[in-house]
Symmetry: C2
């Protein structure tokens, strides 16, 4: 079989190495995409040795659910998919750790450990297709970061294959381990540009025994910050969600004729979905209600509705999660940024006034406030007036002006390469590029991702 | 003034750069120790530029409280002390962050943020002299890691000066920030071998509103693990201490004639100090008691005493903290290691049987069980029989055999360089050395620390 445009000798060597089903061709408009499908760490190492010798670039692939196009194959790069390395190798109930191959899907892992009464606390929309290797490579965040942290905080050990095929196995299970440099940190969030993650050890927690959820209406941004601190102080260690919706979000999703009844009337300044995960089902509901009641007395909450059943809880979360609904409004772009809490209100105001120039503007704001993380959905109902570049410029220039982050949780990938300099100094970029050059001197691992051509120090 | 044995031109340049009080000579038996005392990041950068040009090695110095001799000046290295860079630059109550210069002392920072109702959750014995820069450089742990994590988990941003004098400022305040490589992770725990930390941003938490402490007697190691999981499951997010003492520890510290009355009788297999930090002073005490009562009914706890006042709480902690008392027993060595919970009992048994060969052995075991972290105090009451090397060999060979870590929280420094290979593979060491060579090509930053001469890849 001949695959036009590629080094046929290399393809033949890879076919021999990987055996039946080890190489798939996905047809593309320009050049067919070659997908390599190793089954073992040794095969990954073999692939990297062959590709290294042939200077053939590779894009490591997980569930391909990333939102910054870090998984996109361009310029004839081969895909290196971990889809046949999905084993759950061990659920260690003594040490409360999970050891998996990198292709294991988040939801599969979550369900497997739940059967043992344990929690893998990572959670976000793509849970059914995102892989744990991809989650590590992008340092994914999601819904419960305020309580359990990002992927980085959940990962205890990694096995990584370097560009030259060297296997570095650091499958640590211990919480404290200060033996030289913590190598795994280099690869977490590096988006596959420094090595290919093949196995992981993850920290598990006890499964929560109670869950309490409420939707709150809040009158001002000041009250919103006050409420965040109030909940954090009075729900010691159990606050797991503080999801804020600006009014345009809430009003559109619960508009007449939509799928969702509005649990609280329209017209408030902010709506917040608050969640705690506790250990005392008999007591936690009452405590949650007391803490919220006192917040109301303190003037932090204007109105509240508490979920009294799993279905009520789901109904509240479905409002927050129904983000795809906004695509009905017209051409839009979703953004993922961070700004500090003290600048957030001014930041949103600045975006809003920028959007005033757009005909029939769409300007939706929501986010994980406790993590400084906002999502913006910007666009227009007038398709002809949609200006992709102008919207990006508005958001990223404003982020830069307020000292924020151009990517809170989605990473840089291809999509945000040109914006990276807005959140990182020349000295930082130079240092990153030095690391990249050290670990991948031939630039075969996910080239063109994270770093733009004009990165300082890039030779 | 002439300082024998040093490059007088370099010393003169450094004196001019740093001004009055900027250079101190500490007299030593062999060679006087030169201590440089910059007052600004720019001066640190100037020092590094001059020393880099002169190939003069430096040891970054914090509170010099490290337990692995990472701060020791050998072979004519200059000390680079941050003792005049102690400013608390900002306590940001909106974002709940603290920005400090690296020489700021832990306890000073803890007290300053407590005045604003906030908690800097790092805590350990050297709190009165350890600096936040040193804490970051060693990824210090301590008493509340089970709840709040190690230093790495508390640090949001760093400013670092590289070997060539480049200042890399990443004073991030946001919980979510996935913009390229997370550079700060490289420097945390690198023991000053990759750069000099000059400023930090730390994450603050709400000050706990209740504290509950108990001392428990436990009959078996199996029950001990059961109890750890029980407490973790039933004290959602509030478990902050699980300090285990093997019986020899408890019996000696509370022996007749000692400073401490035994709150529980001698003779149990294990003693555990358990602590939770909560948010509801009126309710938490009762809940703590209920959870412990049920653990007793479940057969996990044999006997218990609860602290009912701050002085009772202090009395319990003083038993756990009175580690210096063991130095009265004879020549001893304290060790800091980790092993996984499933191997811990066998590990301790192995050490004990190794100690049986020692005349009048001292074999004390205690530790932060929830973090897999054990401290061992080994020695002999017969001074003439004390064999430093044999004790080290016993501990580190056993750690290696059980797949543990030769340093849980103290780091490698000078003291454990020769043991590092027992916990890290050749591939890991090679990767570490590649990083060191990349960032400090002339090996002027804390040379001879972490890496032994025979480190693989070390040229």
């Amino acid at each position: 079989m001949v695959t036009p445009g590629y080094d046929e000798t290399l393809l033949q060597q890879l076919r021999e190495l990987l055996g039946d089903g080890g190489l798939r061709i996905e047809h593309d408009e320009v050049l067919p995409d070659v997908i390599l499908r190793p089954q073992t760490t040794e095969q990954v190492a073999g692939v990297l040795r062959l590709c290294s010798a042939a200077a053939q670039p590779l894009v490591p692939l997980g569930g391909r659910t990333g939102l910054a196009n870090g998984h996109v194959q361009t310029c004839g790069e081969f895909g290196l998919s971990l889809e046949r390395m999905t084993a759950i190798e061990e659920i260690d109930t003594h040490n409360r750790t999970l050891t998996v191959q990198a292709g294991c899907i988040l939801q599969v892992a979550v369900e497997a450990v739940a059967e043992k009464g344990l929690l893998l606390p990572l959670d976000f929309g793509a849970r059914g297709s995102a892989t744990l290797g991809g989650i590590a490579a992008t340092n994914a965040g999601g819904n419960r970061v305020i309580r359990y942290g990002m992927a980085r905080d959940v990962i205890l050990g990694l096995e990584v294959v370097l560009a030259d095929g060297t296997v570095v196995t650091s499958l640590n299970k211990m919480l404290k381990n200060n033996t030289g440099y913590d190598i795994k940190q280099w690869f977490i969030g590096a988006e596959g540009t420094l090595g290919v993650i093949t196995r992981l050890v993850l920290r598990l927690r006890p499964l929560p025994r109670s869950e309490n959820t409420a939707l709150l209406a809040v009158d001002s941004f000041e009250a919103l910050i006050g409420l965040l601190h109030w909940m954090d102080e009075r729900s010691a260690g159990t606050l797991s969600g503080f999801e804020v919706m600006w009014p345009e979000f809430y009003q559109y999703i619960t508009r007449e004729g939509s799928l969702h009844r509005p649990p609280l009337p329209h017209g408030s300044a902010f709506y917040v979905l608050v969640e705690t995960l506790g250990s005392e089902p008999e007591l936690d509901g009452e405590r949650f209600e007391t803490v919220l009641g006192e917040a109301m007395e303190a003037g932090l909450v204007a109105d509240a509705v508490l979920a009294h059943s799993q279905s009520e809880r789901n109904a509240l979360w479905e409002i927050r999660d129904d983000v795809l609904e906004f695509f009905k409004l017209g051409p839009i772009i979703p953004f993922d940024i961070s700004v500090t809490l003290d600048t957030m209100e001014a930041f949103v105001e600045h975006i809003r006034s920028g959007m005033a120039a757009v005909p029939e503007p769409v300007c939706i704001v929501f986010g994980h406030l406790g993590d400084s993380n906002l999502h913006l959905i910007l666009g227009t109902k007038t398709a002809a007036a949609f200006d992709h570049e102008a919207l990006g410029t508005l958001v990223y220039e404003t982020v830069q002006r307020y000292g924020g982050s151009v990517s809170a949780e989605h990473g840089i990938g291809l999509s945000k390469r040109d914006q990276l300099h807005r959140s990182r100094s020349a000295a930082e970029l130079q240092l990153m590029w030095a690391m990249k050059s050290q670990l991948d001197p031939n630039n075969i691992l996910n080239p063109n991702k994270i770093f733009a051509a004009e990165t300082p120090g890039r030779g």
